[in-house]
Symmetry: C2
Subunit: 436 residues, 2 copies
Amino acid sequence: MKPIRVGLLGLGVVGGGTIEVLRRNREEIARRAGREILITHATAKNLDKSRDFALDGIALVADAHALVSNPEIDIICELIGGDTNTKELVLAAIAHGKHVVTANKALLARHGTEIFAAAQKHQVMVAFEAAVAGGIPIIKALREGLSANRIEWIAGIINGTSNFILSEMRSRGASFESVLKEAQAKGYAEADPSFDIEGIDAAHKLTILSAIAFGTPVQFESAYTEGISKLTDKDIKYAEQLGYRIKLLGITRWTKAGIELRVHPTLIPEKRLIANVEGVMNAVLVKGDAVGATLYSGRGAGAEATASAVIADLVDVTRMLTSDPEHRVPHLAFQPDQLRDTPILPIEKIETAYYLRISAYDQPGVMADVTRILADSYISIDAMLQKEAEEGEDIVDVIILTHLCIEEHANAAIQKIEGLPTIVGKVVRIRLEELN
Amino acid sequence: MKPIRVGLLGLGVVGGGTIEVLRRNREEIARRAGREILITHATAKNLDKSRDFALDGIALVADAHALVSNPEIDIICELIGGDTNTKELVLAAIAHGKHVVTANKALLARHGTEIFAAAQKHQVMVAFEAAVAGGIPIIKALREGLSANRIEWIAGIINGTSNFILSEMRSRGASFESVLKEAQAKGYAEADPSFDIEGIDAAHKLTILSAIAFGTPVQFESAYTEGISKLTDKDIKYAEQLGYRIKLLGITRWTKAGIELRVHPTLIPEKRLIANVEGVMNAVLVKGDAVGATLYSGRGAGAEATASAVIADLVDVTRMLTSDPEHRVPHLAFQPDQLRDTPILPIEKIETAYYLRISAYDQPGVMADVTRILADSYISIDAMLQKEAEEGEDIVDVIILTHLCIEEHANAAIQKIEGLPTIVGKVVRIRLEELN
């Protein structure tokens, strides 16, 4: 089957990430989507600009309007951002019968109702997973995964720049101004950071989430927006003393009187999982009447995280155009003829780290013997903790954390350790994973 | 359009929850799905058993085989569990051209390959969001939301019973046996708990996640399974001293040599979000090469949380049977003609709690004045913190946390407080949400 052809509007950070990931995972993505997805054409404001990603095979087009009407293109991927030119281009693409994938929250928060009506009329999809919370599939979760629920409220950390600043202010007791400067130096904040730190970006995203949750048109103009620039480290410290953290939250809640739609700094109990989402990470907490609270967290920005959502949408459209409706999504994610009999490793062959608890007589040389056995089995030690012998006891607990090793090597070493005359009983062995 | 008709196999906890939620959210669900979803027939092992949910309108059928072949039924919803009779029933339903929604992890982990092949042949969907992690839409996230990624690994807390036991052992320093007894008394653990505490249930779920992540057939028979029954509170305590928590994790990882597929107690760094998922909650951490690590957490079991996933699948099938493919999922989740112009509340009308920081002269009567003003504005106080005046200062910080109130009442009270002669400058006001 011939590839799906994508025309790319915008060759910035996310455009580059999309090109890279589509190229790197080309085969894996085709195994899932049912056919190949190819970016065939692209356009950008400045075509001559040097870029740190290769364009080989992609035809550069100067005229964006020619691109969105090109009959060879199936899907238009809009990654320009902003709502000035993009609205016109997206509407033109729709009018030409193109499906549209966009990461543009400002566009949809302001003109979504008009754009979706045009898509409905022209029988095309407008997909926008990347518009909210980067790589986290929150649009899919809300529109499909939680469709049984009356949504009660949503609370989200949906601006990474603000969350980075607040996390640093709390952990280091630093002022807003000093952390903002650092964030700008690291590239986490723009030269003009107001869009992020004044909550406008978060309000765009929240507007989209709210409409999807409650079945209303998008209503950005009614959102309340208050940023973090007036927060002091003093209040962050007092909040912490009371058991709370301050986050820039986007909150939307259904009430009998109407819908709350607001972005502002918010104290939340530190014991909530979402209170512990730090740095540039995003998280969205959704309360449904049946499911209760579910949390979705991950990278909310960045080239490849956003590309992940853009490409998921491209796969969605491709599957729709490729398979019978009842087999749109293959049962096991990959097309049935693309499954592979990759072997499952026996447990002896897996690689993991270990917590070892060893009971030993409290006498010289024991640790030298144990560490020698580990070294001989190619197992290196990450941390060691020796407990004091209790009053009148001559046996002590020694805890060793190892680095990664192959399980059969660990088993052999443990067997040798248990054979030492200075060791009492069995070694307690629990696996350890850093999960990073 | 006439309703989609569902035949229900099994009237246990999840069956009851599905009936309840479908009935309660009937209108909301139809606005999303495009038409009504009705359970028209049901069967159970013992039809005469008394149940704490109403069956009105649902025809009880004694013969499950008659039900799965009933030409009036569009979707068979299998909520019996176990893989003895269910395999035959599900295959019969598929052979009769019925779409199937199932929560049955044991069935799919053992016979998924055969069942999915039959579904492919008979052009029907077999949907199984409820089979893994209850209400968390992790199947949808993996199969669709993360389809751009090469999945590197998945680590999940996917058995609530075990997680409850480990959480209690850690927080109270209690033994495995004593917490297990308590969990049984609370209904969190079965009389024969081995299925949960020995990791078999988690291995069923992990097998499904692994196949979806890596594009392989389901291979439960190759999974390594080790439970929590031999864990001691001593090791939990030592792990904590080293900065780790012990969780029963299901881990599957792609390596060049093969796939790791293993369930066992695991130390994980306490600073990871997933290490802080406590009690009966579930969480799945997925590492993709483009998106990085994303976390999905929520209730992994229970009548309505599982029903949430079952009904999401019913909506998925219904949308497929109802709309044109490109409008399968409405842009704003609800059908375009079902959007409502629910008003957005102005910020003065929202309800929230507050953190108030007041600078006051350190003299008698100040707090009496402030608390009187709050009481007169119907604002009750949740907590109060008065800082000591610093050496040589005569102004102190007073922090007040309020209960929920309407923002305009808070504004009025703050204005009055700022008018007090004993108060210095503006009151700092930050909103507070408990998010529970």
